[in-house]
């Protein structure tokens, strides 16, 4: 099969609450998949399950031919899954470039070459001017871009973006949208959780909608936007019937 990621009947429970319930889907190599849903839908949990932070209560996860359901996050990262954090988690006592070097080390073992790769990646996301700046001076918007740089410096096969548009100006949104849209051409498969729907509608080949832990839609952007179940999930019962 050509699918790079397969989620097979995955469910996850916190105490008595099922955060993710019987979710199944696959992602093809080179796809850009949007993942949307109201708050509390289970998107972060799904990401944590894929990234190895959580082990699914039920179901299996396959990546690139490997069964990774029970793998810890550092192992998952090493086989090529990168992720960003919704609330940025920079290394506070390091500089911007050093933050990116950590992920760059996956492919460049020497400190100087990792630094070069890190600077290159930072330039890619427009942070070239901040290379040696202490990371604590960055604004949230810049920190989000740093998250993107960190993920990409790993030269991942699959990247999980988590709301990377928050805090960006309209011009920056446009630039970032084009940038992310170009990633599949570079051989990077993308799953994109985003509330700025414009970005996803423009770039995604497919959109999945999660609500209350369940996958309620999975198809082309235009079709998903019109799907009554999706409208209901976002706007409530009355609006969908109106």
């Amino acid at each position: 099969m050509t699918a790079i990621l397969t989620i097979d009947n995955v469910s996850h429970r916190f105490g008595s609450l099922w955060a993710v319930r019987d979710v199944s889907f696959s992602v093809e190599r080179g796809e850009l998949l949007g993942l949307i849903g109201p708050n509390g839908a289970g998107k972060s949990t799904l990401y944590n399950l894929i990234a190895g932070v959580l082990i699914p209560t039920k179901g299996e996860i396959f990546f690139d031919g490997l069964k990774v359901s029970h793998w810890k996050s550092h192992r998952v990262a090493r086989v090529g899954i990168a992720r960003t954090f919704q609330i940025p988690k920079p290394y506070r006592q390091l500089s911007v470039v050093e933050n990116v070097m950590l992920t760059a080390f996956q492919h460049e073992r020497s400190v100087s070459r990792a630094r070069d790769l890190a600077i290159e990646t930072l330039a890619d996301v427009g942070l070239r001017d901040y290379v040696d700046v202490p990371v604590t001076t960055l604004t949230v918007g810049l920190l989000k871009r740093l998250e993107v740089a960190r993920a990409l410096a790993m030269r991942p096969k699959l990247v999980l973006f988590d709301e990377i548009m928050a805090g960006l100006t309209p011009t920056e949104v446009s630039t970032m949208t084009k940038f992310v849209g170009g990633l599949p051409a570079r051989g990077i498969t993308v799953i994109w959780v985003e509330h700025v729907l414009y970005a996803i509608m423009k770039t995604a080949s497919r959109i999945m909608v999660l609500n209350r832990g369940e996958l309620i839609a999975n198809g082309e952007p235009a079709a998903v936007a019109r799907d009554p179940a999706v409208v209901k999930a976002y706007l409530g019962e009355e609006m969908s019937l109106a």
Binding site: H74, A77, A82, F85, K89, L102, F105, V111, A114, D132
Partner: protein, 339 residues
Amino acid sequence: MSLDVTQQSTGRLALPFLPRRGARVSVLEIFIFIVCLALAIIGLPQTLQDVAVLTFLWAGLALAWNIAGGYAGLISFGHAAFFGIGAYTSTILFVHLGLTPWIGIWCGGALAALFGALLALICARLRGPFFILSTLAAAEVVRIGALNWASLTGGPEGLSIPPVAGMTSMVFASKAAYVAMMLLFLLVVYAITKLLEGSRYGYYLFSVRDDSDAASAAGVNPLTVRTAAMALSAGLTGIGGSLFAQYFLYLDPTFVISPELSFQFGLLAAVGGLGTAIGPVLGSFLITPMSELLRSYLGNQAAGLHLVIYSALLIVVMLYFPGGIAGALTRIVSRKGKL
């Protein structure tokens, strides 16, 4: 606590003035090294030689502590256990089995490193104060064990090394030789620290210290990194303990494995500047001579007074200069640079 922000070079030499993270040396470090070397070679009056021995030794031990506490973020108040394990191992091997300390110190270091790794594994999931308290508890277990296993360690009466000078027994007639030995220890630990902080492994340590979830997502395994850091830190501390045994020639669990000693390593590193290489050195160079001189001039009373002063100093430094002496130096120099 990155010292990278300042970059003052001295023109021709193109060396930075202040220490920077990584293997490149700075003018300040070279200056300090030359001064120490001079002191060791030229010689000092008898009383000051003891001070020099301890200053260099505690500096090396503070550096070793810093690898776990400052670089890996594993603040331990139990390092005296590693010190004691090193000291007792080499001494027991020498006194009971006749094994030369030149080999014995490595055995001590290895055993201490093993204990360090074990401790890190046991306390792997613990954070913050719980980790610190666990290190305290573990050290107390070792101390009480040493105190009561009299057949091995001599118990409360302690263990002595015969004060007979000899190369194979690593006992020296002249204090100057000890000064040189401790300086060598300090230099080796310093070199290890500098190499570590500029290497990929050093960055792994910093990442796990600053945000272990992000580090995991970057492919770094926090458990192996912490365990390795603790093992290295413990091993170096153990070697320092063995060297101390060869100098002091008497070991007693109440002093050698005490919480006060553990605290001292952290104190020197923190006042000097946690997470930098030069910090623990500066901390020891400032505090140890003062401490020893106070102790010798004030006799018994000093036992209380000098600790009163240092603890007050520590509180003030922690609240107002969390970067320690090294951090304050950087801030002063970078401000001058901007003028």
